[in-house]
């Protein structure tokens, strides 16, 4: 019986160690790869949308005369490119993602070529710049965005899969069984030798019970951290990303309307999606601290400013005053939009930091548990052997 109990404890320790090790690996994978891919894909979408809005503003101002917007366009495309490179590094050997990335790279080249051609056409005052800009936007919306979204969806599926692992439950069950075996051994020994307590066996039981409690707490912390990362930070990231997409669409519609010289359609729908109980309010509700709420409040204030300025531009278009509309669009509305955009981006970075911190917490909560489970089980096995040896010695 002594040998069986000792072997059982060693087996429980080894299997629990293996299971915990697997959990640690999965958690690290989530923290360092899948989570980062999710964030990076959001940044790719946001950066391309920003580049698109800036490109139209550059064109509106007449070739390169709006160098600030030109700079913002270049910085946005640089950010998109570096985010794509990061995604390529992080997706590992996922072939689907790599194929999508190749398609994105090809479409990006087309997109950048069209923007540059439109810019040169503007400089040379050649016709067709407007059409090329529209075509570039179309490449962005119909080719780049869907592929980026696919990569994000696959990463999200991996994220859900990796964060819903139930190996921790198996490890807990094994530890419960080990405690049960020890209590059973204690009971049997007390019956055979008519001694109430065998101190080493009690010590082994205490070690395993402590292990059980610590493991339960460690796994609970990990699961809670995953849950927080998902329900707080990542949901907030997704809402911010939706806000950006809607806002860029709003901006693109407005600037295109100025290009066309007629008031834009669809602005009210986009404003409705954002305002009231829409996405902006959802972002505020998703905030989990006073600091995040302050950031969300600033986003709302800056959106309101932009919409007010943009309305002045659209009103001017309605009156047929295209020159005034152009001036406002390039000036006050543009500035207000930049303020809104950078504020959303800063909020996104805050959420990203929170998301990665929470995933790191999940990973950290298991790091120490691995060794503890193995070491604790071996210690308990030694105690058991000692306890049985004591009784056997007395018996002889």
């Amino acid at each position: 019986m002594a040998i069986v109990t000792v072997l059982a404890l060693i087996a429980v320790g080894a299997v629990a160690w293996l299971l915990t090790d697997r959990l640690v690996s999965e958690t690290e994978e989530v923290a360092t790869s899948t989570g980062e891919v999710l964030i990076a894909t959001q940044q790719v979408s946001a950066s391309f949308a920003e580049a698109d809005a800036a490109a139209v503003s550059v064109h509106l101002a007449g070739a390169d005369s709006n160098r600030e917007q030109r700079r913002l366009f270049e910085q946005a495309t640089d950010r998109a490119t570096s985010s794509l490179e990061r995604v390529a590094r992080l997706v590992g050997d996922d072939e689907r993602s790599h194929e999508a990335l190749q398609d994105i790279a090809a479409a990006t080249t087309t997109y950048a070529g069209l923007i540059e051609a439109a810019r040169l056409a503007s400089i040379e005052e050649l016709p067709g710049a407007d059409a090329m800009l529209r075509q570039a936007s179309s490449v962005n919306r119909s080719e780049i965005s869907p592929d980026v979204q696919s990569i994000a969806d696959w990463a999200r599926a991996r994220f859900d899969d990796q964060t819903s692992s139930v190996w921790y439950a198996v490890a807990i069950i094994l530890l419960v069984i080990a405690v049960g075996v020890l209590l059973g051994a204690q009971f049997m020994l007390s019956r055979w030798f008519r001694r109430l307590i065998n101190v080493p066996l009690v010590a082994a039981s205490i070690v395993m019970i402590v292990l059980l409690v610590l493991s339960s707490r460690g796994f609970a912390t990990q699961q809670q951290a995953f849950d927080d990362a998902q329900t707080q930070a990542f949901d907030a990231i997704q809402i911010s990303e939706q806000i950006q997409q809607s806002a860029y669409r709003h901006r693109a519609l407005s600037t295109t309307a100025v290009l066309d010289g007629s008031a834009a359609d669809g602005l009210i729908d986009l404003e409705s999606a954002l305002e009231g109980s829409g996405l902006l309010a959802q972002a505020r509700d998703a905030a989990s601290s006073d600091r995040e709420r302050a950031g969300a409040d600033e986003v709302i204030a800056r959106w309101t400013r932009y919409v007010d300025e943009n309305r002045r531009s659209q009103d001017a278009l309605g009156r047929g005053d295209v020159a005034a509309a152009e001036a406002i669009t390039q000036g006050a509305a543009n500035s207000a939009f930049n303020g809104f955009n950078t504020t959303v981006e800063a909020a996104l970075l805050d959420n990203r930091e929170q998301f990665l911190n929470q995933l790191q917490t999940a990973s950290d909560s298991l790091q120490w548990l691995r060794g503890l489970i193995l070491g604790g089980s071996l210690l308990a096995a030694v105690f058991v052997w000692w306890g049985f040896a004591q009784r056997i010695g007395e018996y002889r």
Partner: protein
């Protein structure tokens, strides 16, 4: 070494009027544990960069005792003073960028700064802190060209005028590398907001050649106003705030933003890492981002306010304040704004430091 005076010549009586009806500045919510608080806000600022009459009001508003010191005389010597013994320091943008990069400053506790929404968007798009999570601009200015038309005999409209043969030996230059090199870069058609080392070196070489050729009368800081006033130079690189003040005495002196553009700089509030009262620092920042208080200070310092709403506040005050609101140097229009460039920093800080060191050779030994 630079900008020893940023004070307006205007009386601050109108500023006092602007203080009436100040709204509350305290943000809601509970401070996270990481935000320090001590009841004492220690502020290190440039000389004459705050209307002293505002201090009691601010102190009452934020509820902390304020220790306000104007010891920051330049961005080089100032670095020796920087540290957690201060809750707020106001370095120039390029130095703030370095501090952020090396972790010497802490993230702003936004929960105490609801007026953060009033930062002019132009200050939010800097690559080194997009969205201004680590800094809040204090005052901003333009480095352009000031000249005496009686001495130049013509209008100056371009950066190339600083290098024009007819002004040889009659041009003063400001001894700030990023502003001088940035202006020269603009003259070359380059963008100082995203400078490359090659472009900066070309501009530097151009300045060096002109300097060796005797093009420049002297390298100065705000003393350029004295040189212009006394006719020792015909033209100078110039800071907008000092130029506006000079024009009160010499309305004939012109300040221009060259056709190619001008350099916009700003001094910005940061909270040093380890500061003992980050909460108080945040409340101070919030108070100065109230447009009424910012307007009062703008009347006094006469630099560009980074706070949205200041122009309207000044107009509402009427009189001299309203006249300031119409000053295009303090409130540039959209067309002018598009010609202003904030130095973006070289990719290599080592290369930028090297350029800085070589540039220092132009300056007179102290």
């Amino acid at each position: 070494m630079k900008r020893l005076s940023r004070r307006s010549f205007l009386a601050s009586s109108a500023a006092s009027a602007a203080l009436l009806g100040l709204p509350g500045c305290v943000g809601g919510g509970v401070a996270p544990e990481a935000v320090t608080s001590s009841g004492l806000v220690r502020v290190l600022n440039w000389t004459e960069y705050l209307d002293p009459e505002l201090l009691p009001t601010i102190e009452a508003q934020i509820g902390d005792t304020i220790v306000y010191q104007e010891l920051w005389e330049d961005n080089y010597g100032g670095q020796d003073l920087f540290g957690p013994q201060w809750d707020i320091v106001t370095p120039t943008n390029w130095l703030a960028a370095q501090y952020i990069q090396d972790g010497s400053v802490q993230r702003l506790p936004l929960e105490f700064i609801p007026n953060h929404k009033n930062i002019d968007p132009v200050f939010l798009t800097n690559g080194w802190d997009r969205g201004a999570r680590f800094h809040m601009p204090w005052q901003s200015g333009i480095t352009g060209i000031a000249y005496d038309p009686n001495l130049t005999g013509r209008e100056l409209t371009s950066v190339s005028d600083l290098f024009a043969p007819d002004l040889r030996g009659r041009v003063a230059m400001i001894g700030e590398m990023r502003e001088a090199v940035g202006l020269a870069m603009l003259g070359n058609g380059d963008d100082p907001a995203q400078p490359t080392l090659g472009q900066a070196e070309t501009a530097y070489a151009q300045i060096e050649a002109a300097n060796n050729d005797g093009q420049f009368h002297s390298w100065v800081f705000n003393e350029f106003t004295d040189l212009l006033k006394t006719g020792q130079v015909a033209a100078s690189m110039a800071w907008s705030g000092d130029a506006v003040q000079l024009q009160l005495e010499r309305p004939d002196i012109q300040f221009v933003i060259p056709d190619e553009g001008a350099i916009q700089w700003f001094d910005t509030m940061v909270i040093p890492a380890g500061a003992g009262n980050a909460e108080g620092a945040a409340r101070w920042m919030n108070a100065f981002y109230d447009p009424a208080i910012a307007a009062a200070n703008t009347q006094w310092v006469q630099y560009i306010s980074p706070v949205l709403g200041v122009e309207d506040e000044l107009r509402a005050l009427g009189g001299e304040a309203a006249a300031l609101a119409n000053n295009p140097v303090l409130f540039p229009d959209d067309e002018t704004r598009r010609r202003l460039f904030i130095w973006g920093g070289l990719e290599s800080t080592v290369a930028e430091q090297d350029l800085d060191d070589r540039f220092a050779g132009f300056l007179p030994a102290e």
